[in-house]
């Protein structure tokens, strides 16, 4: 088995807010991230797939296909968007806060089962160079 990782970037706005809490509680827990005008990051997404190397093509996965899937499922939905306001998994009423952890989990949900010939192994989302979340599909 071999692991292959593809990297893409997207830039998005977000804020952290739990509707079940008072404004004071949100500010206490989330601090500056609770500013409802939003703030943004240049996110880097690393998607790692695992599989066997095809004896004929020498590929684990068709990189063109993986690139198209990442563009369609993630970049076209997240890039230059406000995650809380424009991305369905974090929309009002879902109760899902667009933290780096939840973004990694949501992207896993978007990609799972869509990559042919290889298994999704890890979704890593960098919010910035010094902070990132990993999700391996563990429940």
């Amino acid at each position: 088995m071999i692991l292959l990782t593809r990297k893409v970037e997207f830039s998005s706005a977000h804020y952290y807010w739990n509707d079940a809490w008072s404004a004071e509680e949100n500010l206490r827990v989330f601090g500056r991230c609770a500013n409802k005008n939003g703030h943004g990051h240049n996110y880097t997404l690393e998607v790692t797939v695992a599989g066997e190397v095809d004896a004929v093509s020498g590929f684990v996965v068709d990189l063109k296909e993986l690139k198209e899937i990442l563009e369609r499922e993630v970049v076209s939905v997240y890039d230059h968007r406000h995650l809380n306001l424009e991305v369905p998994e974090f929309a009002a009423g879902t109760g899902l806060i667009p933290t780096t952890e939840n973004i990694a989990i949501a992207i896993w949900g978007r990609l799972e089962g869509k990559i042919s010939h290889a298994k999704l192994h890890r979704v890593r989302v960098y919010e910035m160079a010094d902070l990132f979340a990993d999700y391996y599909g563990e429940r």
Binding site: E89, L96, N102, I105, A106, Y136
Partner: protein, 143 residues
């Protein structure tokens, strides 16, 4: 809501934070002769020491909290790192510290020391510590 999109209940994720600190060290073992120290450690045995800009990557793992969307309070982790990592090691000569009184301050041993320190963090379980000594060398302990 797109079909198949995950929600935050019960999923286990990992969060990694990188901290930077600069320190000096000299690789030298009392168990070796002067010649052996030079042979084993090469230029790292220079008696005057040398230094690195270390990047310490700390990973915490746990269930994503449904209310906060987080596995760990990042403020708590940063505060722990500030008092237990940065304030203890930033700008220091590692060889002069109690931790390395009987331990050669290789980055392997530095990683063991930092891993042990972070086992004392109560905010989440630290599952991995990885230290980059330079952009080309890194050392890690998982578990």
């Amino acid at each position: 809501m797109a079909a198949g999109v995950a929600t935050s209940t019960g999923q286990r994720a990992y969060l990694s934070r990188r901290y930077r600190l600069s320190a000096s060290h000299r690789l030298h073992s009392e168990a070796y002769s002067a010649e052996e120290n030079r042979a084993v450690y090469g230029k790292c045995n220079n008696p005057h020491g040398h230094g690195h800009n270390y990047a310490v990557e700390v990973t915490v793992g746990g269930t994503v909290d449904a209310e906060t969307g987080m596995v760990c309070d990042l403020g708590e982790l940063d505060e722990f790192a500030r008092t237990q990592l940065i304030e203890r090691f930033e700008g220091m000569n590692l060889n002069t510290l109690d931790e390395f009184r009987e331990l050669v301050p290789t980055t392997e041993n530095f990683t063991r020391v930092v891993h042990r320190i972070f086992q004392g963090f109560r905010g989440a379980r630290v599952t991995r510590v990885r230290i980059e000594e330079t952009g080309n060398n890194s050392f890690e302990i998982a578990g």
